[in-house]
């Protein structure tokens, strides 16, 4: 079950090597994103687009405001 986290936990995860994915559309990602994040828009999220990610390493996702 995915865990809902806040910014402090996110920073700890990132410091420990977690992967970070922004799921907003590409233009919103291009405008501003969190350092180190890659962009996989929700509408394209599938086995192929996530193939570069390590399934055994923690991964954190975010959008604009969680809604």
């Amino acid at each position: 079950m995915p865990a809902a986290i806040g910014v402090d936990r996110l920073e700890r995860l990132l410091a420990a090597g977690a992967q970070l994915v922004e799921v907003l559309p590409a233009d919103e990602y291009a405008e501003a994103h969190l350092p180190g994040a890659i962009n996989i828009p929700l509408k394209t999220l599938d086995a192929r687009t996530t193939s570069s990610l390590d399934r055994g390493t923690p991964v954190a996702v975010y959008c604009h405001d969680g809604l």
Partner: protein, 158 residues
């Protein structure tokens, strides 16, 4: 959007999935580093006065006078113990208020706010257009970031 993405990743076989629920809005509102085209943009939150006059709901109006007279904004902001913005008390509201009144009795509830990541240059223009001197900046969860002073911000951007 991110909750659905998190569940989708889990269904795709990811073992440890986390949903940063505050999202980009929360990150940017905290003033943390950012990447992308807007990385170099100066945001409203970057230029606020982070320590404007504040008070609590239960503070007596009679105790607010000195702080309000000293306030360069002409108001004090009403916040709770989590620094969530609840209202604004203007200097002009004090003259007609009985001494036993509390901030809650004379405040304007829910004053308009802007987000931390509003471009500062845009906000200066908007405020000038509306003939306003200041804007209150809050996080997406309503916590007070500070007061954006149009003239001071314009000087810093010049």
């Amino acid at each position: 959007m991110s909750p659905r993405a998190a569940w989708r990743l889990e269904a795709l076989g990811f073992e440890h999935v986390y949903d940063y629920v505050g999202g980009k809005a929360d990150w940017l509102a905290s003033g943390r580093p950012r990447a992308g085209r807007a990385a170099g943009e100066v945001f409203a939150g970057d230029l606020v006065d982070p320590d404007p006059p504040t008070c609590a709901l239960a503070d007596r109006v009679s105790d607010l006078g000195a702080a309000l007279r000293a306030s360069r904004y002409g108001f004090t902001l009403v916040i709770n113990d989590r620094r969530v913005l609840l209202g604004r008390v203007r200097r002009s509201a004090l003259s007609a208020a009985p001494e036993e009144a509390r901030a809650e009795d004379v405040m304007e509830p829910g004053p308009s706010t802007v987000r931390y990541d509003t471009p500062a240059s845009q906000l200066i223009e908007r405020l000038a257009h509306k003939k306003l001197r200041t804007a209150i900046v809050t996080t997406p969860t309503g916590r007070l970031v500070g007061v954006f002073d149009r003239a001071a911000a314009a000087r810093r951007l010049a």
